[in-house]
Amino acid sequence: MNATAPRALIEIDDLTRIYPAAVPIRALDGVTLAVPEGAFLGISGSSGSGKSTLLNILGGLDTPTSGHIALAGRRISDLGPDDLALYRRDKVGMVFQSFNLISAYTALENVAFPLLFAGVARAERGRRAAEALEAVGLAARRSHRPTELSGGEQQRVAIARALINRPKVLLADEPTGNLDSTTAAQILQTLADLNAAGLTIVMISHEEPLLRKYSHAIVRLRDGRIIEHEHIRAAQ
């Protein structure tokens, strides 16, 4: 290994995920990849190429059939259900295309939600959630429910929630898929700012221009395999 090269935060080695079916579906087929700390990695590919499966395994929501995946040197592919939950809570933050906010909760409650499972006291949860909302420019909307927020605002609430436990990596699955281009640009700028502050980001998008604008590298998948790993620019 090159001594001057950035240290790999995420190491993926020969990752395979096969979904059982009458004809087993090979969603990922021997993916090997390293993501340096502080990188902004874009993942693209057509529908069914395996990009969401890769992100779900990275996020600890799914487990590989074979191969290994490690974050900061710790293999997550070997973790049991409880440790995997702790990994999801403390090490990664996830942002989804459909925001996945709880409609009955206010913006503040949604952001504070992960802290509930970390055993953080109620007052502390409120304080930290308010800070996170302020960081994404939504301090004034803390008492609003998701239905009272625009799509962009909802996604920023989701980002604030993903960051509330100060994760090592932010995983974003088509975060701008439900947004208009202006709002999408704002969200991506928010992500870029977070990346500039040192947060490692792995983002799925089918919008190639946006990926090229914000990513340091783009991985293209087809049929569960990496067909191209394009370096765009150096990470700061």
Binding site: N56, D62, D82, A85, N100, P114, F117, R122
Partner: protein, 459 residues
């Protein structure tokens, strides 16, 4: 997750679905109220009876039966004694005065009372009732075994006094026990050319009923005027008490009466010597601790005995069975309610499918998810339990009042038919929670097993 967060979270989630929570909780409330009331009724019955036994001091009494008397059924762990002794009945000495004197000498025996009862008709104006009058000494009448509603026991100075039960009083058309004291009533004894009389033939007695003797019935009545000294609460405790009649007459009054000293058809076939013996004798002990030793001594002579102290285990078993039966009725309502909880919680897991996915995505462990749903079903149980025991208590009070109001018109004194021991309150609430948790088990496990990827994609 913190305990306080679990509680807040569960109450908050239930509050969001107010109507469904109300309806589900209402099912638990009804079930627990039914269970609580039923068991309170069972406990009330138990308390009334044991209190009555204790108040009457019946645990200090042993009933001894003569050679051909006594209960035929075997009973309790000592059940063999009746059956065995019946087989050896011919060798058992009669329960006469000399035997009573020997019993009185046994350690722990305070007094011995022979049971003498005779058939009589109690009459006042046009009202009358047939009964078996019992000869009771003034000491026994004043022993505390009799609960007087009015008046009191007679003394040796009242040769024509009588004690009647409130039941007899009502049959005689007297409703006010206080007003009845001092009034005169008639006792008509029944005489028969029978046992002990020259030329008695039991077949004549039977012929009186078959009509073979025409109008020549072997019965006659002798009337005696007696004054009511006291009105007693009807005892209704059977063999447990030496007092087993609705009419008590002092020995000096009974001695002057012409009467048949027989209480059942078997007495007709006894010889005059046998009729001199008592069929039943009651022993009063210094304390209930002597029951076993005195019973053993009396049974050693071949007599059969009955002591309520011996029966207490059987009585307790009977009450347990009654409690179980009553609880089973209440349980039916609670089981239906638990199905409601299962339904509510399954609905909650379906409605919050996506939310469960979000919980898992942000770091909830399976156990966290399971506990969230557990706490919700537990909260339904706690709320249902608290409201259930409260409404069960209020309903029981209402029923008690209505029943007493109805029975008061029949002259029956006020009784608490329900008893609410502290453990019943706590156990009912705990049971409501336990049932609710059991009902929430499947939905909670189902929620915990949710695949977060599928749940997050769910619309």
């Amino acid at each position: 997750m913190r305990l306080s967060d679990h509680i807040h979270q569960s109450l908050s989630n239930l509050w969001k679905k107010k109507l469904r929570t109300f309806l589900t909780t209402a099912g638990v409330v009804i079930g627990i109220a039914a269970l609580f009331s039923m068991l309170a009724f069972g406990k009330g019955m138990q308390k009334n009876i044991t209190d009555r036994f204790t108040r009457l001091d019946l645990f200090r009494y042993i009933t001894v039966f003569g050679p051909s008397e006594g209960p035929r059924r075997p009973r309790g762990p000592r059940g063999h004694r009746f059956g065995d002794s019946r087989q050896t009945a011919p060798s058992v000495p009669p329960l006469d005065d000399s035997r009573l004197a020997e019993i009185a000498k046994l350690p722990g025996v305070q007094a011995v009372f022979p049971e003498v009862r005779f058939p009589a008709v109690v009459r006042r104006d046009d009202n009358e009732r047939f009964t078996l009058a019992q000869v009771v000494s003034p000491e026994l009448a004043a022993s505390g075994l009799v609960t007087f509603l009015a008046g009191g026991p007679y003394t040796h100075a009242d040769p024509n006094a009588i004690i009647v039960s409130d039941s007899i009083l009502r049959d005689l058309g007297l409703t006010d026990p206080q007003a009845a004291v001092g009034q005169s009533i008639t006792i008509a004894t029944i005489t028969l050319n029978g046992p002990g009389s020259p030329g008695f033939n039991p077949l004549d007695f039977i012929g009186a009923f078959t009509g073979d003797l025409g109008d020549a019935l072997p019965f006659a009545q002798k009337e005696y005027a007696l004054t009511i000294a006291g009105v007693a609460e009807r005892m209704g405790v059977g063999m447990a008490s030496p007092l087993r009649s609705d009419v008590f007459i002092a020995p000096q009054a009974a001695d002057g009466m012409q009467k048949m000293n027989l209480t059942n058809v078997r007495d007709l076939f006894k010889s005059p010597d046998q009729l001199q013996a008592y069929s039943t004798v009651s022993i009063r002990l210094v304390s209930a601790e002597h029951v076993d030793t005195v019973t053993a001594a009396v049974e050693a002579w071949g007599y059969r005995t009955f002591a309520i102290a011996d029966e207490i285990d059987e009585i307790k078993t009977a009450f347990v069975l009654m409690d179980m039966f009553l609880a089973a009725i209440g349980m039916i309502a609670l089981l239906v309610a638990s199905l409601g909880i299962v339904n509510t919680m399954v609905m909650a897991t379906l409605e919050r499918y996506r939310e469960i996915g979000i919980m898992k995505a942000v770091g909830a462990r399976n156990s966290d998810v399971r506990r969230i749903f557990f706490f919700e079903s537990g909260a339904i149980g706690l709320l249902g339990g608290l409201l259930g025991v409260t409404s069960g208590w209020l309903t029981s009070l209402l029923i008690n009042r209505i029943v007493n109001y109805y029975l008061a018109a029949k002259g029956i004194p006020y009784t608490e038919y329900f008893n609410f021991p502290v453990w019943l309150w706590l156990a009912s609430i705990a049971f409501a929670i336990a049932i609710s948790l059991a009902a929430g088990l499947y939905p909670a496990i189902r929620a915990a097993k949710t695949d977060p990827i599928k749940a997050l994609r769910h619309d």
